[in-house]
């Protein structure tokens, strides 16, 4: 099945248009025209009419400018005004995901519904099996009384004509922590006290109604102000665009970044610290330790499984170590983490060394806006080559494999949580009481960071590319461990 869908393509198109205008320094002048250009009069509209389409696009653009859509105070505020505010530097919150309320189609909450395929049969197993007596027959067809229905789904299983359908609310269905719910107008609301910023709702919404706030304008503003730009490339980028890491590094210089670091270099430090911490904890008699490099997972523990908190490693993420080094070398620079997911954007906001985030999608849009093609770029030779095990952090199981390599004298008996869903959540909740192993690796996204919701490549292709990059890298050496 295809992973890419039209809602994503629209978002990438908007990102490209915004970056093109920023590159030409025409954003404020021309941004209010973008919705009209994308949905010109006379062409088919996706929603009820072209005006609704344009209104939705306006709010998506507002999110790309870095604003929380819920903060709008006056509907007449033009996008150009938001551009002015963004270029003047505005204060931002740690809210990452924002709901485009115009786009949210207010999916119906009723989960089970009888379709008109109901034949009104004599056997009526739906009625016989309903534990709440919620099904009535009239006009020759079954009807569910939604006040009585408890969504058990028995009628759906029993109907011999498959006439009963299950209608999920896609965003609520995928949220592992029940953080997204309807407000009193039926529009979805993300509860910041519960949200772990995994972005699964953003991918799931068929209307593209959930947007990630972008830092694009902030990055351009810093460049204009004369700051040096530093790009920290997440290990998962090695699997994107079907290109190799040397070309990708080179492309960041062409986009105007002054220094480029690979976060896999920071991962080397995470590996050694993690292994040392595991050894220490087990010797002290703690039963097990979990990883801490995925911010979606650490938020999950903070907000939903406090009993697991004492078992989470205190070792910092590869990004943190890399940013620390970059900051020491370049005090006044603007440090941008190039990221596979919105959870990292949340981590960046709270990290003391990193300033902004550029998602893989935004990076791709930037290349397109500048008409750069990775295949035509000369690879950048030289520079630091991170160890194979550090590159492996991008995929599920990579952290465990790396820690096993360097944790001498520790017999690691691991569990790998490859993606957080409701079942994984239950498994994690039980761990403080009865977990038998001694090491747990948790990745919020299936496949690890190459399955993050800002990635471009299919995770299977990305995994192959990461594997290639690992084969071309040296193994991890003990002498790299910091004292």
């Amino acid at each position: 099945m295809s992973v890419t869908n039209n809602a994503m393509i629209i978002r990438r198109d908007l990102l490209t248009r915004i970056i093109k205008l920023m590159e030409r320094e025409e954003l404020e002048k021309k941004i209010d025209r973008i919705p009209l250009e994308v949905r010109p009069r006379g062409e088919d509209s996706v929603r009820c009419c072209v005006h609704k389409d344009r209104a939705v696009l306006k709010y998506k653009l507002m999110a790309i400018l870095g604003f929380n859509i819920a903060d709008e105070t006056d509907e007449l505020t033009p996008l150009s005004e938001y551009v002015r505010m963004a270029y003047n530097g505005r204060s931002q919150s740690d809210v990452v995901l924002t709901v485009v309320d115009e786009a949210c189609s207010s999916c119906r909450q009723t989960s089970y519904e009888v379709s008109n395929l109901c034949r009104g049969c004599v056997a009526r197993p739906c009625i016989n099996n309903c534990p709440k007596d919620a099904i009535r027959f009239f006009n020759g067809q079954a009807h569910i009384d939604h006040k009585a229905c408890v969504n058990c789904g028995k009628c759906l299983k029993m109907c011999p004509f498959h006439a009963i359908v299950y209608m999920p609310v896609p965003c609520e269905e995928v949220c592992p922590v029940n953080a997204i719910k309807k407000n009193d107008r039926g529009v979805e609301y993300i509860d910041p006290a519960k949200c772990i910023n995994c972005g699964k709702c953003m991918i799931a919404c068929p209307f593209g109604a959930i947007m990630e706030k972008s830092n694009l304008v902030d990055i351009f503003r810093n460049k204009i102000e004369g700051k040096k730009l530093i790009a920290l490339l997440a290990p998962a980028i090695a699997g994107q665009f079907g290109s190799d890491i040397q070309r990708i590094r080179s492309s960041f210089h062409m986009l105007g970044f002054d220094y480029v670091y690979e976060v896999a270099e920071g991962a080397e430090q995470t590996i050694f610290n993690e292994a040392a911490e595991l050894k220490e904890r087990l010797e002290e008699g703690q039963p097990f330790m979990t990883t801490s490099c995925c911010p979606g997972y650490t938020s999950l523990v903070d907000k939903h499984i406090p009993a697991l908190k004492p078992f989470v490693s205190h070792t910092r993420s590869p990004m943190h170590y890399m940013a620390k080094k970059a900051r020491e070398e370049h005090q006044d620079a603007c440090i941008v983490f190039v990221s596979p997911c919105p959870a990292k954007k949340w981590e960046v906001y709270h990290d003391s060394y990193t300033d902004y985030t550029l998602s893989f999608e935004e990076y791709g849009a930037w290349l397109v806006a500048r008409q750069l093609d990775l295949n035509d770029i000369e690879p950048l030779e030289g520079g630091y080559t991170p160890a194979a095990e550090a590159r492996g952090f991008a995929t599920s199981g990579g952290v465990t494999a790396a820690v096993k390599k360097v944790a001498e004298g520790v017999n690691i008996n691991e569990t790998i949580i490859n993606g957080i869903d409701k079942a994984a959540l239950r498994q994690l909740k039980n761990m403080p009481r009865n977990y038998q192993g001694n090491f747990v690796e948790v990745m919020t996204c299936e496949n690890g960071c190459i399955g993050g919701c800002n990635v471009i490549s299919n995770p299977r292709l990305a995994a192959k590319k990461i594997q290639e990059a690992m084969e071309n890298a040296p193994g991890i050496l003990a002498e790299k461990a910091l004292p």
Partner: protein
């Protein structure tokens, strides 16, 4: 020939890199699937929208796995 240029890749071409897997087993021997550097269509006005794919001499714009399968089948019948 599936364009693997950055523009096409971003706009849905990433998915098409797995096209060979979607070909029915009976057709796999009759179709050669290759990647290509930028086909140059994305910067010409009026040539359509990415991702682009060339099937023999036919340029397919806004290609999807399904639209490609249709074109490939039609070409094989010719």
């Amino acid at each position: 020939m599936i364009c693997a240029g950055t523009h096409c890749y971003l706009m849905g071409g990433a998915e098409l890199q797995l096209f060979h897997e979607y070909l029915p087993a009976g057709l796999r021997d009759s179709v050669i699937v290759t990647g290509s550097p930028c086909l140059g269509n994305c910067n010409c006005e009026g040539s359509g929208k990415p991702p682009f794919v060339m099937v023999n001499d036919i340029i397919v714009e806004q290609a999807t796995i399904q639209s490609l399968l249709e074109v490939v089948n039609a070409e094989l019948k010719n």
